[in-house]
Amino acid sequence: MSKARHNPLNSFAAHAALIAYTLIALFPVFVILINSFKTRKAIFRDPLALPDGDSFTMIGYQTVMKQGDFFLYFQNSMIVTVATLFFVLLFGAMAAFALAEYRFKGNMLMGLYLALGIMIPIRIGTVAILEMMVSTGLVNSLWALILVYTAQGLPLAVFILSEFMRQVSDDLKNAGRIDGLSEYTIFFRLVLPLVRPAMATVAVFNMIPIWNDLWFPLILAPAEETKTLTLGSQVFIGQFVTDWNAVLSALSMAILPVMILYVIFSRQLIRGITSGAVK
Protein backbone atom coordinates (compact mmCIF):
# COMPACT_ATOMS: atom_id res chain seq x y z
CA MET A 1 0.00 0.00 0.00
CA SER A 2 2.56 2.55 1.09
CA LYS A 3 4.86 1.35 -1.63
CA ALA A 4 2.23 2.00 -4.25
CA ARG A 5 1.61 5.40 -2.78
CA HIS A 6 5.23 6.42 -3.11
CA ASN A 7 5.67 5.15 -6.63
CA PRO A 8 6.03 8.40 -8.62
CA LEU A 9 4.43 6.96 -11.73
CA ASN A 10 1.31 5.86 -9.85
CA SER A 11 1.14 9.12 -8.02
CA PHE A 12 1.46 11.00 -11.31
CA ALA A 13 -1.28 8.92 -12.92
CA ALA A 14 -3.57 9.46 -9.96
CA HIS A 15 -3.00 13.18 -10.01
CA ALA A 16 -3.47 13.37 -13.77
CA ALA A 17 -6.79 11.59 -13.47
CA LEU A 18 -7.91 13.82 -10.64
CA ILE A 19 -6.87 16.99 -12.42
CA ALA A 20 -8.63 15.90 -15.60
CA TYR A 21 -11.75 15.20 -13.60
CA THR A 22 -11.53 18.55 -11.86
CA LEU A 23 -11.21 20.35 -15.19
CA ILE A 24 -14.23 18.56 -16.63
CA ALA A 25 -16.27 19.27 -13.53
CA LEU A 26 -15.29 22.92 -13.34
CA PHE A 27 -15.63 23.68 -17.04
CA PRO A 28 -19.39 24.50 -17.07
CA VAL A 29 -18.97 26.65 -13.98
CA PHE A 30 -16.13 28.44 -15.67
CA VAL A 31 -18.17 29.05 -18.84
CA ILE A 32 -21.06 30.44 -16.81
CA LEU A 33 -18.75 32.73 -14.88
CA ILE A 34 -16.94 34.23 -17.88
CA ASN A 35 -20.09 34.68 -19.90
CA SER A 36 -21.84 36.43 -17.07
CA PHE A 37 -19.35 39.26 -17.57
CA LYS A 38 -19.87 39.50 -21.36
CA THR A 39 -22.27 41.37 -23.56
CA ARG A 40 -25.13 39.50 -25.09
CA LYS A 41 -23.53 39.63 -28.54
CA ALA A 42 -20.21 38.39 -27.26
CA ILE A 43 -21.89 35.49 -25.48
CA PHE A 44 -23.32 34.23 -28.73
CA ARG A 45 -20.38 35.12 -30.96
CA ASP A 46 -17.78 33.22 -29.00
CA PRO A 47 -19.08 31.58 -25.82
CA LEU A 48 -15.65 30.26 -24.80
CA ALA A 49 -13.74 33.54 -25.11
CA LEU A 50 -12.69 35.42 -22.00
CA PRO A 51 -14.27 38.85 -21.53
CA ASP A 52 -12.03 41.58 -22.94
CA GLY A 53 -12.21 45.37 -23.08
CA ASP A 54 -14.90 45.31 -25.73
CA SER A 55 -17.10 42.55 -24.50
CA PHE A 56 -16.85 43.18 -20.75
CA THR A 57 -20.02 44.35 -19.10
CA MET A 58 -21.75 44.20 -15.75
CA ILE A 59 -25.16 44.62 -17.31
CA GLY A 60 -26.30 41.15 -16.24
CA TYR A 61 -25.51 41.81 -12.60
CA GLN A 62 -27.12 45.20 -12.77
CA THR A 63 -30.33 43.74 -14.18
CA VAL A 64 -30.39 41.12 -11.48
CA MET A 65 -29.90 43.70 -8.76
CA LYS A 66 -32.57 45.97 -10.17
CA GLN A 67 -35.22 43.44 -10.95
CA GLY A 68 -36.95 41.73 -8.14
CA ASP A 69 -35.55 41.52 -4.67
CA PHE A 70 -32.60 39.35 -5.40
CA PHE A 71 -31.14 39.43 -1.90
CA LEU A 72 -34.43 38.45 -0.38
CA TYR A 73 -34.61 35.45 -2.71
CA PHE A 74 -31.10 34.62 -1.78
CA GLN A 75 -31.88 34.81 1.90
CA ASN A 76 -34.98 32.67 1.45
CA SER A 77 -33.04 29.96 -0.33
CA MET A 78 -30.38 30.07 2.33
CA ILE A 79 -32.87 29.84 5.20
CA VAL A 80 -34.74 26.98 3.59
CA THR A 81 -31.59 25.01 2.78
CA VAL A 82 -29.83 25.49 6.09
CA ALA A 83 -32.92 24.89 8.20
CA THR A 84 -33.75 21.77 6.22
CA LEU A 85 -30.25 20.39 6.54
CA PHE A 86 -30.34 21.06 10.27
CA PHE A 87 -33.62 19.21 10.74
CA VAL A 88 -32.72 16.36 8.41
CA LEU A 89 -29.41 15.79 10.17
CA LEU A 90 -30.82 16.15 13.67
CA PHE A 91 -33.92 14.01 13.28
CA GLY A 92 -32.28 11.64 10.84
CA ALA A 93 -29.39 11.00 13.19
CA MET A 94 -31.68 10.56 16.19
CA ALA A 95 -33.92 8.09 14.38
CA ALA A 96 -30.89 6.28 13.04
CA PHE A 97 -29.39 6.03 16.53
CA ALA A 98 -32.60 4.60 17.93
CA LEU A 99 -32.80 2.04 15.14
CA ALA A 100 -29.15 1.08 15.37
CA GLU A 101 -28.74 1.08 19.13
CA TYR A 102 -31.88 -0.14 20.82
CA ARG A 103 -33.56 -3.51 20.59
CA PHE A 104 -37.31 -3.05 20.63
CA LYS A 105 -40.30 -4.72 19.07
CA GLY A 106 -40.82 -3.63 15.50
CA ASN A 107 -37.33 -2.23 15.10
CA MET A 108 -36.96 -3.85 11.70
CA LEU A 109 -40.41 -2.77 10.54
CA MET A 110 -39.81 0.77 11.71
CA GLY A 111 -36.54 0.86 9.80
CA LEU A 112 -38.22 -0.39 6.63
CA TYR A 113 -41.07 2.08 7.05
CA LEU A 114 -38.65 4.96 7.42
CA ALA A 115 -36.69 3.82 4.38
CA LEU A 116 -39.80 3.50 2.25
CA GLY A 117 -39.59 7.17 1.33
CA ILE A 118 -36.41 6.50 -0.61
CA MET A 119 -38.41 4.63 -3.21
CA ILE A 120 -41.49 6.84 -3.37
CA PRO A 121 -40.90 10.29 -4.86
CA ILE A 122 -42.46 12.92 -2.66
CA ARG A 123 -43.80 14.84 -5.67
CA ILE A 124 -46.47 12.18 -6.10
CA GLY A 125 -48.09 13.64 -3.04
CA THR A 126 -47.95 17.24 -4.21
CA VAL A 127 -51.71 17.75 -4.34
CA ALA A 128 -52.23 16.31 -0.88
CA ILE A 129 -49.32 18.34 0.45
CA LEU A 130 -50.75 21.49 -1.03
CA GLU A 131 -54.14 20.77 0.53
CA MET A 132 -52.49 20.20 3.89
CA MET A 133 -50.50 23.39 3.63
CA VAL A 134 -53.61 25.34 2.69
CA SER A 135 -55.59 23.99 5.61
CA THR A 136 -52.75 24.67 8.06
CA GLY A 137 -52.23 28.11 6.60
CA LEU A 138 -48.60 27.45 5.77
CA VAL A 139 -48.87 28.28 2.08
CA ASN A 140 -46.51 31.04 1.07
CA SER A 141 -44.31 30.58 4.09
CA LEU A 142 -40.80 29.21 4.20
CA TRP A 143 -41.98 26.64 6.75
CA ALA A 144 -43.97 24.92 4.02
CA LEU A 145 -40.77 24.34 2.09
CA ILE A 146 -38.68 23.42 5.11
CA LEU A 147 -41.20 20.81 6.26
CA VAL A 148 -41.55 19.26 2.82
CA TYR A 149 -37.83 19.13 2.19
CA THR A 150 -37.20 17.68 5.63
CA ALA A 151 -39.70 14.93 4.92
CA GLN A 152 -38.05 14.38 1.57
CA GLY A 153 -34.54 14.15 3.01
CA LEU A 154 -35.20 12.03 6.10
CA PRO A 155 -35.54 8.54 4.58
CA LEU A 156 -32.15 8.49 2.94
CA ALA A 157 -30.57 10.19 5.95
CA VAL A 158 -31.96 7.56 8.34
CA PHE A 159 -30.90 4.78 6.02
CA ILE A 160 -27.31 5.97 5.58
CA LEU A 161 -26.77 7.13 9.14
CA SER A 162 -28.14 4.01 10.82
CA GLU A 163 -25.74 1.93 8.76
CA PHE A 164 -22.85 4.06 9.98
CA MET A 165 -24.04 4.13 13.56
CA ARG A 166 -24.10 0.36 13.71
CA GLN A 167 -20.37 0.53 13.08
CA VAL A 168 -19.63 2.76 16.05
CA SER A 169 -17.98 0.62 18.69
CA ASP A 170 -20.40 -0.78 21.28
CA ASP A 171 -17.61 -0.71 23.81
CA LEU A 172 -17.34 3.06 23.47
CA LYS A 173 -21.04 3.58 24.12
CA ASN A 174 -20.94 1.11 27.00
CA ALA A 175 -17.93 2.85 28.51
CA GLY A 176 -19.98 6.03 28.42
CA ARG A 177 -22.90 4.35 30.15
CA ILE A 178 -20.64 2.99 32.87
CA ASP A 179 -19.15 6.45 33.36
CA GLY A 180 -22.65 7.78 33.90
CA LEU A 181 -23.25 9.62 30.64
CA SER A 182 -26.89 9.98 29.63
CA GLU A 183 -28.10 8.51 26.37
CA TYR A 184 -28.30 12.04 24.97
CA THR A 185 -24.71 12.78 25.88
CA ILE A 186 -23.63 9.48 24.36
CA PHE A 187 -25.48 10.38 21.19
CA PHE A 188 -24.29 13.96 20.88
CA ARG A 189 -20.79 13.70 22.31
CA LEU A 190 -19.62 10.22 21.39
CA VAL A 191 -21.57 8.94 18.41
CA LEU A 192 -22.23 12.04 16.32
CA PRO A 193 -18.58 13.12 16.06
CA LEU A 194 -17.69 9.63 14.87
CA VAL A 195 -20.29 9.59 12.11
CA ARG A 196 -19.43 13.09 10.95
CA PRO A 197 -18.28 11.93 7.50
CA ALA A 198 -21.64 10.26 6.96
CA MET A 199 -23.43 13.39 8.15
CA ALA A 200 -21.46 15.48 5.68
CA THR A 201 -22.36 13.07 2.90
CA VAL A 202 -26.04 13.28 3.76
CA ALA A 203 -25.82 17.06 3.92
CA VAL A 204 -24.21 17.35 0.51
CA PHE A 205 -26.69 14.93 -1.03
CA ASN A 206 -29.60 16.93 0.33
CA MET A 207 -28.28 20.40 -0.21
CA ILE A 208 -28.02 20.61 -4.01
CA PRO A 209 -31.52 19.33 -4.93
CA ILE A 210 -33.10 21.64 -2.36
CA TRP A 211 -31.17 24.66 -3.54
CA ASN A 212 -32.07 23.94 -7.15
CA ASP A 213 -35.67 22.89 -6.65
CA LEU A 214 -38.28 24.78 -8.61
CA TRP A 215 -41.28 22.55 -8.11
CA PHE A 216 -42.22 23.12 -4.49
CA PRO A 217 -41.34 26.83 -4.35
CA LEU A 218 -43.56 27.34 -7.38
CA ILE A 219 -46.46 25.44 -5.85
CA LEU A 220 -46.16 26.09 -2.13
CA ALA A 221 -44.48 29.47 -1.83
CA PRO A 222 -44.73 31.53 -5.02
CA ALA A 223 -45.38 34.81 -3.19
CA GLU A 224 -42.89 37.58 -3.75
CA GLU A 225 -41.60 37.58 -0.18
CA THR A 226 -41.04 33.81 -0.04
CA LYS A 227 -39.57 33.24 -3.50
CA THR A 228 -36.39 31.23 -3.57
CA LEU A 229 -33.46 32.06 -5.77
CA THR A 230 -34.28 29.48 -8.43
CA LEU A 231 -37.84 30.66 -8.64
CA GLY A 232 -36.77 34.30 -8.62
CA SER A 233 -34.36 33.74 -11.50
CA GLN A 234 -37.18 32.47 -13.68
CA VAL A 235 -38.31 35.99 -14.46
CA PHE A 236 -35.31 36.30 -16.75
CA ILE A 237 -36.26 33.24 -18.76
CA GLY A 238 -39.15 34.22 -20.97
CA GLN A 239 -41.13 32.19 -23.39
CA PHE A 240 -39.79 34.20 -26.31
CA VAL A 241 -36.79 36.13 -25.12
CA THR A 242 -34.35 35.15 -22.43
CA ASP A 243 -32.13 37.71 -20.80
CA TRP A 244 -29.01 35.59 -20.86
CA ASN A 245 -26.84 38.17 -19.15
CA ALA A 246 -29.18 38.22 -16.19
CA VAL A 247 -29.63 34.46 -16.12
CA LEU A 248 -25.90 33.81 -16.14
CA SER A 249 -25.25 36.45 -13.51
CA ALA A 250 -27.97 35.06 -11.28
CA LEU A 251 -26.55 31.57 -11.70
CA SER A 252 -23.03 32.74 -10.91
CA MET A 253 -24.22 34.25 -7.69
CA ALA A 254 -26.33 31.22 -6.87
CA ILE A 255 -23.29 28.97 -7.07
CA LEU A 256 -21.44 30.84 -4.36
CA PRO A 257 -23.36 29.90 -1.22
CA VAL A 258 -23.59 26.27 -2.28
CA MET A 259 -19.86 26.29 -2.69
CA ILE A 260 -19.33 27.79 0.74
CA LEU A 261 -21.61 25.22 2.35
CA TYR A 262 -19.84 22.50 0.45
CA VAL A 263 -16.44 23.63 1.66
CA ILE A 264 -17.69 23.60 5.23
CA PHE A 265 -19.06 20.08 4.93
CA SER A 266 -16.12 18.68 3.05
CA ARG A 267 -13.78 19.93 5.75
CA GLN A 268 -15.95 18.06 8.26
CA LEU A 269 -15.67 15.07 6.01
CA ILE A 270 -11.90 15.14 6.01
CA ARG A 271 -11.66 15.88 9.71
CA GLY A 272 -13.99 12.98 10.44
CA ILE A 273 -11.84 10.61 8.46
CA THR A 274 -8.57 11.64 10.07
CA SER A 275 -9.71 12.02 13.68
CA GLY A 276 -8.55 9.30 16.09
CA ALA A 277 -10.90 6.36 15.98
CA VAL A 278 -11.67 4.01 18.81
CA LYS A 279 -8.62 1.85 18.79
Binding site: S169, L172, N174, I178, K279
Partner: protein, 331 residues
Protein backbone atom coordinates in the same frame (compact mmCIF):
# COMPACT_ATOMS: atom_id res chain seq x y z
CA UNK B 1 -18.17 -9.51 52.90
CA UNK B 2 -18.94 -10.70 49.40
CA UNK B 3 -18.12 -8.35 46.57
CA UNK B 4 -20.50 -10.01 44.16
CA UNK B 5 -23.18 -12.60 44.46
CA UNK B 6 -25.07 -13.99 41.49
CA UNK B 7 -28.05 -16.18 42.22
CA UNK B 8 -29.74 -18.08 39.47
CA UNK B 9 -28.92 -15.52 36.82
CA UNK B 10 -30.38 -16.28 33.38
CA UNK B 11 -30.12 -14.25 30.22
CA UNK B 12 -31.82 -14.89 26.90
CA UNK B 13 -31.70 -12.95 23.68
CA UNK B 14 -35.11 -13.72 22.24
CA UNK B 15 -35.28 -17.50 22.20
CA UNK B 16 -31.55 -18.03 22.58
CA UNK B 17 -30.55 -18.81 26.15
CA UNK B 18 -27.06 -17.43 26.59
CA UNK B 19 -26.69 -17.70 30.37
CA UNK B 20 -28.31 -20.54 32.26
CA UNK B 21 -28.74 -20.44 36.04
CA UNK B 22 -25.43 -18.89 36.96
CA UNK B 23 -24.62 -19.01 40.69
CA UNK B 24 -21.40 -17.38 41.70
CA UNK B 25 -19.78 -15.58 44.60
CA UNK B 26 -16.79 -13.29 44.49
CA UNK B 27 -15.26 -12.54 47.88
CA UNK B 28 -13.87 -9.15 48.68
CA UNK B 29 -10.40 -8.65 47.28
CA UNK B 30 -10.61 -11.77 45.18
CA UNK B 31 -9.31 -11.98 41.61
CA UNK B 32 -11.70 -14.14 39.61
CA UNK B 33 -11.02 -15.17 36.04
CA UNK B 34 -13.71 -16.35 33.63
CA UNK B 35 -12.49 -18.69 30.95
CA UNK B 36 -14.34 -20.67 28.34
CA UNK B 37 -14.51 -21.22 24.61
CA UNK B 38 -15.57 -18.41 22.30
CA UNK B 39 -19.28 -17.69 22.43
CA UNK B 40 -19.88 -19.35 25.80
CA UNK B 41 -21.24 -16.14 27.31
CA UNK B 42 -18.31 -14.65 29.19
CA UNK B 43 -18.79 -11.14 27.85
CA UNK B 44 -22.53 -11.41 28.26
CA UNK B 45 -22.09 -12.38 31.90
CA UNK B 46 -19.81 -9.41 32.41
CA UNK B 47 -22.30 -7.08 30.76
CA UNK B 48 -25.07 -8.46 32.93
CA UNK B 49 -23.00 -7.86 36.05
CA UNK B 50 -22.22 -4.32 34.93
CA UNK B 51 -25.85 -3.59 34.15
CA UNK B 52 -25.34 -2.97 30.45
CA UNK B 53 -27.69 -5.89 29.85
CA UNK B 54 -30.66 -6.70 32.00
CA UNK B 55 -31.01 -10.16 33.45
CA UNK B 56 -33.90 -12.26 32.23
CA UNK B 57 -34.22 -13.65 35.75
CA UNK B 58 -32.10 -13.98 38.85
CA UNK B 59 -30.47 -11.64 41.37
CA UNK B 60 -27.25 -9.69 41.39
CA UNK B 61 -25.78 -8.34 44.63
CA UNK B 62 -22.74 -6.10 44.55
CA UNK B 63 -21.19 -5.32 47.93
CA UNK B 64 -24.23 -6.75 49.70
CA UNK B 65 -26.67 -4.49 47.84
CA UNK B 66 -29.14 -5.79 45.30
CA UNK B 67 -28.44 -3.94 42.06
CA UNK B 68 -31.02 -5.48 39.76
CA UNK B 69 -32.61 -2.11 39.07
CA UNK B 70 -29.53 0.07 39.45
CA UNK B 71 -28.04 1.67 36.31
CA UNK B 72 -24.44 0.78 35.41
CA UNK B 73 -22.95 4.05 36.64
CA UNK B 74 -24.33 3.56 40.16
CA UNK B 75 -23.37 -0.08 40.65
CA UNK B 76 -19.94 0.65 42.04
CA UNK B 77 -18.21 -1.08 39.17
CA UNK B 78 -15.72 -0.04 36.53
CA UNK B 79 -15.05 -1.84 33.30
CA UNK B 80 -12.07 -2.15 30.99
CA UNK B 81 -12.84 -3.15 27.42
CA UNK B 82 -10.85 -5.11 24.90
CA UNK B 83 -10.99 -2.28 22.38
CA UNK B 84 -9.94 0.29 25.03
CA UNK B 85 -13.03 2.39 24.22
CA UNK B 86 -11.37 5.68 25.09
CA UNK B 87 -13.26 8.85 24.24
CA UNK B 88 -11.48 10.02 21.09
CA UNK B 89 -12.24 13.71 21.57
CA UNK B 90 -10.96 13.92 25.14
CA UNK B 91 -7.41 14.04 26.43
CA UNK B 92 -6.06 11.31 28.68
CA UNK B 93 -6.73 13.49 31.72
CA UNK B 94 -10.31 14.19 30.64
CA UNK B 95 -10.87 10.55 29.80
CA UNK B 96 -9.97 9.58 33.33
CA UNK B 97 -11.83 12.45 34.95
CA UNK B 98 -15.10 12.11 33.07
CA UNK B 99 -16.81 9.62 35.37
CA UNK B 100 -15.87 11.60 38.46
CA UNK B 101 -17.19 14.78 36.85
CA UNK B 102 -20.45 12.99 36.17
CA UNK B 103 -20.60 12.10 39.86
CA UNK B 104 -20.02 15.81 40.63
CA UNK B 105 -16.97 15.20 42.75
CA UNK B 106 -15.06 18.33 43.82
CA UNK B 107 -12.39 19.52 41.40
CA UNK B 108 -9.39 19.05 43.66
CA UNK B 109 -10.45 15.51 44.53
CA UNK B 110 -10.73 14.69 40.83
CA UNK B 111 -7.29 16.14 40.13
CA UNK B 112 -5.83 14.23 43.03
CA UNK B 113 -7.32 10.90 42.00
CA UNK B 114 -6.26 11.35 38.37
CA UNK B 115 -2.74 12.22 39.47
CA UNK B 116 -2.62 9.19 41.75
CA UNK B 117 -3.85 6.82 39.04
CA UNK B 118 -1.55 8.23 36.40
CA UNK B 119 1.40 7.89 38.74
CA UNK B 120 0.46 4.28 39.45
CA UNK B 121 0.25 3.50 35.73
CA UNK B 122 3.13 5.77 34.63
CA UNK B 123 0.85 7.91 32.52
CA UNK B 124 1.92 11.25 33.95
CA UNK B 125 3.73 12.28 30.76
CA UNK B 126 0.76 11.68 28.51
CA UNK B 127 -2.02 13.41 30.40
CA UNK B 128 -2.57 16.08 27.77
CA UNK B 129 -2.51 13.82 24.74
CA UNK B 130 -5.46 12.46 22.83
CA UNK B 131 -5.97 8.70 22.58
CA UNK B 132 -5.00 8.78 18.90
CA UNK B 133 -1.54 9.99 19.93
CA UNK B 134 -0.85 6.99 22.16
CA UNK B 135 0.46 3.50 21.50
CA UNK B 136 -1.73 0.45 22.09
CA UNK B 137 -0.15 -0.33 25.43
CA UNK B 138 -0.51 3.25 26.62
CA UNK B 139 -4.14 3.32 25.56
CA UNK B 140 -4.87 0.20 27.52
CA UNK B 141 -3.17 1.72 30.57
CA UNK B 142 -5.38 4.79 30.19
CA UNK B 143 -8.41 2.52 30.03
CA UNK B 144 -7.25 0.83 33.22
CA UNK B 145 -6.56 4.26 34.75
CA UNK B 146 -10.08 5.35 33.90
CA UNK B 147 -11.34 2.39 35.92
CA UNK B 148 -8.92 2.96 38.80
CA UNK B 149 -9.89 6.60 39.44
CA UNK B 150 -13.45 5.57 40.15
CA UNK B 151 -12.32 3.45 43.11
CA UNK B 152 -14.98 0.86 42.35
CA UNK B 153 -15.95 -2.05 44.56
CA UNK B 154 -15.54 -4.35 41.61
CA UNK B 155 -13.37 -4.16 38.52
CA UNK B 156 -14.53 -5.87 35.34
CA UNK B 157 -12.00 -6.66 32.62
CA UNK B 158 -13.10 -8.04 29.26
CA UNK B 159 -10.06 -9.51 27.53
CA UNK B 160 -8.07 -6.35 28.19
CA UNK B 161 -4.80 -7.64 26.82
CA UNK B 162 -5.81 -9.44 23.67
CA UNK B 163 -5.02 -6.51 21.38
CA UNK B 164 -1.47 -6.21 22.69
CA UNK B 165 1.64 -7.97 21.45
CA UNK B 166 3.29 -10.67 23.51
CA UNK B 167 5.91 -8.60 25.33
CA UNK B 168 3.47 -5.84 26.19
CA UNK B 169 0.93 -8.39 27.28
CA UNK B 170 3.31 -9.79 29.83
CA UNK B 171 4.16 -6.31 31.18
CA UNK B 172 0.55 -5.27 31.43
CA UNK B 173 -0.31 -8.59 33.06
CA UNK B 174 2.25 -7.93 35.76
CA UNK B 175 0.89 -4.42 36.08
CA UNK B 176 -2.63 -5.71 36.64
CA UNK B 177 -1.38 -8.20 39.22
CA UNK B 178 0.47 -5.40 41.01
CA UNK B 179 -2.58 -3.17 40.83
CA UNK B 180 -4.67 -5.90 42.40
CA UNK B 181 -2.24 -6.23 45.27
CA UNK B 182 -2.00 -2.48 45.77
CA UNK B 183 -5.69 -1.69 45.63
CA UNK B 184 -6.89 -4.91 47.23
CA UNK B 185 -10.02 -4.52 45.09
CA UNK B 186 -12.18 -7.33 43.81
CA UNK B 187 -11.67 -8.03 40.14
CA UNK B 188 -13.35 -10.12 37.49
CA UNK B 189 -11.30 -10.82 34.44
CA UNK B 190 -12.33 -12.48 31.21
CA UNK B 191 -9.67 -14.07 29.08
CA UNK B 192 -8.89 -16.67 26.45
CA UNK B 193 -5.33 -16.88 27.56
CA UNK B 194 -4.34 -19.84 29.74
CA UNK B 195 -1.33 -18.07 31.16
CA UNK B 196 -3.31 -15.02 32.20
CA UNK B 197 -5.90 -17.23 33.82
CA UNK B 198 -3.42 -19.40 35.70
CA UNK B 199 -1.14 -16.58 36.83
CA UNK B 200 -3.63 -13.90 37.81
CA UNK B 201 -6.52 -15.81 39.30
CA UNK B 202 -7.34 -16.55 42.90
CA UNK B 203 -10.30 -18.39 41.48
CA UNK B 204 -11.03 -19.61 37.98
CA UNK B 205 -14.57 -20.02 36.69
CA UNK B 206 -14.82 -22.29 33.67
CA UNK B 207 -17.88 -21.61 31.53
CA UNK B 208 -19.39 -23.65 28.76
CA UNK B 209 -22.54 -22.81 26.80
CA UNK B 210 -23.70 -20.38 29.44
CA UNK B 211 -23.20 -22.77 32.34
CA UNK B 212 -20.58 -22.83 35.06
CA UNK B 213 -18.65 -26.06 34.63
CA UNK B 214 -16.28 -25.66 37.55
CA UNK B 215 -15.07 -23.09 40.05
CA UNK B 216 -11.78 -23.42 41.86
CA UNK B 217 -8.27 -22.19 42.39
CA UNK B 218 -5.99 -22.57 39.36
CA UNK B 219 -4.20 -25.60 40.83
CA UNK B 220 -7.43 -27.23 41.92
CA UNK B 221 -8.79 -26.91 38.41
CA UNK B 222 -5.57 -28.13 36.88
CA UNK B 223 -5.06 -31.10 39.14
CA UNK B 224 -8.62 -32.00 39.82
CA UNK B 225 -10.89 -31.08 36.90
CA UNK B 226 -14.54 -31.99 37.37
CA UNK B 227 -14.99 -33.34 33.88
CA UNK B 228 -13.39 -33.97 30.56
CA UNK B 229 -14.30 -30.51 29.19
CA UNK B 230 -12.48 -28.69 31.97
CA UNK B 231 -9.56 -31.08 31.82
CA UNK B 232 -9.19 -30.50 28.12
CA UNK B 233 -9.71 -26.75 28.28
CA UNK B 234 -7.18 -25.97 31.00
CA UNK B 235 -3.56 -26.81 30.30
CA UNK B 236 -1.49 -26.30 27.19
CA UNK B 237 -0.86 -28.47 25.27
CA UNK B 238 -4.13 -29.99 26.34
CA UNK B 239 -4.63 -33.28 28.10
CA UNK B 240 -4.51 -36.55 26.19
CA UNK B 241 -7.47 -38.89 26.37
CA UNK B 242 -6.79 -42.57 25.73
CA UNK B 243 -9.52 -45.23 25.70
CA UNK B 244 -8.96 -47.36 28.78
CA UNK B 245 -9.17 -50.52 26.68
CA UNK B 246 -5.87 -49.60 25.07
CA UNK B 247 -4.24 -49.81 28.47
CA UNK B 248 -6.02 -52.95 29.58
CA UNK B 249 -8.80 -51.16 31.42
CA UNK B 250 -12.60 -51.57 31.24
CA UNK B 251 -14.77 -50.65 28.26
CA UNK B 252 -16.22 -47.13 28.01
CA UNK B 253 -13.67 -45.32 30.14
CA UNK B 254 -11.03 -42.84 29.15
CA UNK B 255 -7.71 -42.18 30.77
CA UNK B 256 -6.63 -38.55 30.84
CA UNK B 257 -2.89 -37.99 30.82
CA UNK B 258 -1.31 -34.53 30.87
CA UNK B 259 1.50 -34.22 28.30
CA UNK B 260 4.11 -33.51 30.95
CA UNK B 261 3.34 -36.77 32.79
CA UNK B 262 4.03 -38.86 29.69
CA UNK B 263 7.73 -39.31 29.05
CA UNK B 264 9.77 -41.24 26.52
CA UNK B 265 10.67 -44.60 27.96
CA UNK B 266 11.95 -47.61 26.04
CA UNK B 267 9.61 -49.95 27.96
CA UNK B 268 6.62 -47.61 27.70
CA UNK B 269 3.06 -48.85 27.40
CA UNK B 270 2.17 -46.50 24.57
CA UNK B 271 3.96 -47.14 21.32
CA UNK B 272 3.75 -45.29 18.08
CA UNK B 273 5.34 -43.21 15.38
CA UNK B 274 6.35 -39.59 15.86
CA UNK B 275 4.22 -37.37 13.61
CA UNK B 276 5.51 -33.97 14.64
CA UNK B 277 8.06 -32.39 16.95
CA UNK B 278 7.79 -28.89 18.40
CA UNK B 279 11.08 -27.60 19.78
CA UNK B 280 10.33 -24.72 22.12
CA UNK B 281 13.83 -24.50 23.54
CA UNK B 282 12.76 -24.97 27.16
CA UNK B 283 10.43 -27.85 26.34
CA UNK B 284 9.90 -30.22 23.48
CA UNK B 285 6.42 -31.35 22.46
CA UNK B 286 6.39 -34.70 20.72
CA UNK B 287 3.21 -35.70 18.90
CA UNK B 288 2.90 -39.45 18.54
CA UNK B 289 0.39 -41.46 16.53
CA UNK B 290 -0.56 -44.25 18.93
CA UNK B 291 -3.05 -45.97 16.61
CA UNK B 292 -6.84 -45.71 16.37
CA UNK B 293 -6.41 -42.25 14.86
CA UNK B 294 -5.22 -40.93 18.18
CA UNK B 295 -2.45 -38.38 18.41
CA UNK B 296 -0.79 -38.34 21.79
CA UNK B 297 1.23 -35.36 22.97
CA UNK B 298 4.18 -35.75 25.26
CA UNK B 299 5.97 -32.78 26.70
CA UNK B 300 9.63 -33.43 27.43
CA UNK B 301 11.50 -30.97 29.57
CA UNK B 302 14.54 -29.45 28.00
CA UNK B 303 15.59 -30.17 24.45
CA UNK B 304 14.94 -33.63 23.19
CA UNK B 305 16.09 -34.99 19.92
CA UNK B 306 13.25 -36.83 18.19
CA UNK B 307 12.75 -37.37 14.46
CA UNK B 308 9.51 -37.50 12.58
CA UNK B 309 8.56 -41.10 11.65
CA UNK B 310 10.75 -42.46 14.41
CA UNK B 311 9.22 -45.31 16.44
CA UNK B 312 8.89 -44.26 20.04
CA UNK B 313 7.51 -45.58 23.31
CA UNK B 314 6.00 -43.48 26.05
CA UNK B 315 5.28 -44.22 29.65
CA UNK B 316 3.26 -42.30 32.18
CA UNK B 317 2.82 -41.90 35.88
CA UNK B 318 -0.32 -43.81 36.85
CA UNK B 319 -0.82 -41.79 39.99
CA UNK B 320 -1.30 -38.64 37.91
CA UNK B 321 -3.84 -40.10 35.52
CA UNK B 322 -7.48 -39.07 35.62
CA UNK B 323 -10.26 -41.48 34.68
CA UNK B 324 -13.39 -40.28 32.87
CA UNK B 325 -16.53 -42.20 31.94
CA UNK B 326 -17.92 -42.06 28.43
CA UNK B 327 -20.02 -38.97 29.24
CA UNK B 328 -16.89 -37.16 30.26
CA UNK B 329 -17.52 -37.18 34.03
CA UNK B 330 -14.68 -37.95 36.42
CA UNK B 331 -14.68 -41.34 38.10
Amino acid sequence: MTALKLSNVCKSFGKVEVLKNIDLTVEEGEFVVFVGPSGCGKSTLLRVISGLEETTSGDIDIGGRSVNDVPPAKRGIAMVFQSYALYPHLTVRENMALALKQERKPKDEIAERVAEASRMLSLADYLDRRPSELSGGQRQRVAIGRAVVREPELFLFDEPLSNLDAALRMNTRLEIARLHRQLGASMIYVTHDQIEAMTLADKIVVLRDGRVEQVGSPMEIYNNPANRFVAEFIGSPSMNFVPATMLGGPEGQFVGIRPEYAQVNANGRLKGKVVHVENLGGDTNILVDIGDDLTFTSRMFGQYNAQVDQEIALDFDEGKCLIFDKDGQRI
